[in-house]
Symmetry: C2
Subunit: 366 residues, 2 copies
């Protein structure tokens, strides 16, 4: 094994997944006509975005399903090492994966459904863990102002590994009024790029983070930033919907939003428009991400192409709204950075302080 | 091991799952107030029903997430034995789990999201299987008139078993006009019970069906009804939404619907009302279910309490609508049986031809 630990070496091969994704997206797009029989239509620009949007007349309807990923494996290991259940935070992470995607299109999240697929009935027999999951799930719903509608708690021995749980959340919301729709139609040169800070690794890059443990003599208990590596990894993902809701109430409609998840900062290139995104100011890098970059011996390009590196959520707003956007987020306990601007030019992301350039070829998801 | 094979012996322990379900349902119910800030409210009667319903003004919004369960394990075994991929049917099963639940409240399903969590990236590398999954998913969406919005295709090594896939679907729909809401307010003595037929085991009872293979010298290739046991198990679940949509167009609004899934016929007792459900005519038992009952040496009570035994979906309609309901379903290729009626009396299900009685104590999910 070479010294540098890339995401593929950590077990995630996007080359194998993405062709299926493309095939599925094409088949999915071909079903849009089914809505005509109901008198509705899809918002075509939402295809390939983080949430799917439907025009149902008085408002738009947005929906999504999202997976936590492998972060629960860290919680399981840390539980063995510390006796503490981290499933309250894991619940927040799972909901954040869905909510933070849904709000990118301008939706107010309204209902969350829980998908908790355990490796066997006995998973649910651990009362401390189950109660933490329930309590954290409820708290995250309350933070986001959504109703927890229900869900599914199957025991899937033979599919989910024994002692493990596959966590996901679906979310439905409305874009109301319809002018809140933010699928990028108005994204344009001159827009400011506001990056809302992350709390740490959030829920993307965990395969890499877990692989790294093999290189650390103290493993998850390696001291880091006043705690341990494991604790730092388990900082719950920031829920950004209170910010987007407050922005709407303040009269600010982002032209576009990008949830920074898999593919790291390459997600800033998500929109198909031919535009240049120039970053001149970087958000602070959370200690846990600096630690991962250092120990995985990643260069900046590798790190920013897989991890959020401090940027949890990107808002593309009118330049005159940028400062107020930051103030509103800050008031809600979510600091941000006015990181750069959108410019005319070829499709690329320029991270100037690090001399990094990502082009469209670096993110082929559509 | 005793000769009789019960559902618990097959590895599903509802006693361990249901207390968590109850705790989650209580916490979920406490989040309903969050909707007030958006000017909306939940339809409280939908708590504990198969789909969650929200009043958003001009119409009701219904949403759900549902899991396939372990049926994909049968497809995997049959693939080894026959070389054929059954994932087109598995896709339909997964969508049916969500759609058939969503329509119970009177909703028109509009959007389906795919949740395909594989045990590793290599799952998606099998092109035949992946293409079958995509094609079957699209075909089921087309049958139900829904748009496939998108989804999630994570590779979850360490959580999902290698070579396996955890399949689920979320679905969002509208109840429009609002008079289509069928959460049981109008369920009453005198209503007819129409049971739409199943195509086989559907996607509930597979743990038992798989366990049974150990008792069969020829396993999944045991001859059954002109094919094999494995093929019979893999008959795709019937999609019932074309029937409910056609009923609406014909002016028939069911008073209540029950999707017959886990807990078998006990699901007919789902509604909290104090009513007696008297069954005088049984739907034909699909050969695969008769086979399972026989080889698992289950008595009728055990079989009807865990398997659908031919009844895939129950419609509770005005007595004068019963015959027309059957005609409409039959025209769509979904035969049914006018099975009995709702009566005043204690909460119980009486399956008279088999001398079986289930009471409320047999179904504690709320």
């Amino acid at each position: 094994m070479p010294d540098t630990l890339s995401y593929e070496q950590a077990g995630v091969n996007y080359d194998l997944i993405d062709p299926l994704k493309v095939a599925a997206q094409r088949a999915a797009a071909a079903t849009a006509g089914n809505l005509g029989a109901h008198g509705f239509r899809e918002v075509k620009a939402s295809r390939g975005e983080s949430a799917y949007v439907l025009d149902v007349g008085p408002f738009y309807l947005a929906s999504i399903v999202e997976c936590l990923g492998s972060k629960s494996l860290v919680a399981d290991e840390m539980n063995k090492l510390t006796g503490r259940s981290f499933y309250d935070g894991i619940a927040q992470d799972t909901i954040a994966m869905a909510i933070n995607d849904l709000i990118t299109v301008g939706a107010t999240p309204l209902v969350v459904q829980a998908y908790w697929a355990a490796g066997g009935s006995d998973w649910f027999g651990d009362a401390q863990r189950s109660q933490a999951l329930v309590a954290g799930w409820k708290a995250a719903c309350d933070t986001c102002g959504v109703a927890w509608g229900g869900g599914e708690t199957p025991a899937l021995a033979g599919i989910v590994e024994g002692g493990r749980i596959d966590l996901a959340a679906s979310c439905t919301g409305l874009i109301n009024p319809k002018s809140r729709l933010s699928v990028g139609d108005e994204l344009a040169a001159g827009d400011a790029i506001v990056l809302l800070h992350s709390s740490g690794i959030h829920a993307n890059g965990l395969s890499l983070a877990r692989k790294l443990v093999e290189r650390l003599p103290m493993g998850y208990l390696t001291p880091l930033a006043g705690g341990t590596y494991g604790e730092a990894l388990l900082a719950p993902t920031v829920l950004y919907s209170p910010v987007t809701e407050a922005l709407f109430k303040a009269g600010i409609t982002p032209h576009y939003c990008a949830n920074v998840t898999g593919h790291g900062w390459r997600k800033l290139l998500r929109h198909p428009a031919k535009l240049t995104y120039r970053i001149d100011t970087l958000p602070p890098v959370p200690p846990v991400l600096a630690f991962i970059q250092q120990h995985a011996k990643q260069d900046d390009r590798e790190a920013y192409s897989t991890l959020n590196m401090g940027a949890g959520f990107a808002l593309f707003v009118k330049p005159e709204d940028a400062v107020r956007t930051l103030e509103i987020a800050e008031q809600l306990g979510v600091p941000g950075t006015l990181a750069g601007r959108v410019e005319a030019g070829e499709k690329q992301l320029l991270i100037e302080p690090l001399n990094i350039r990502f082009s469209d070829e670096d993110l082929q998801l559509r």
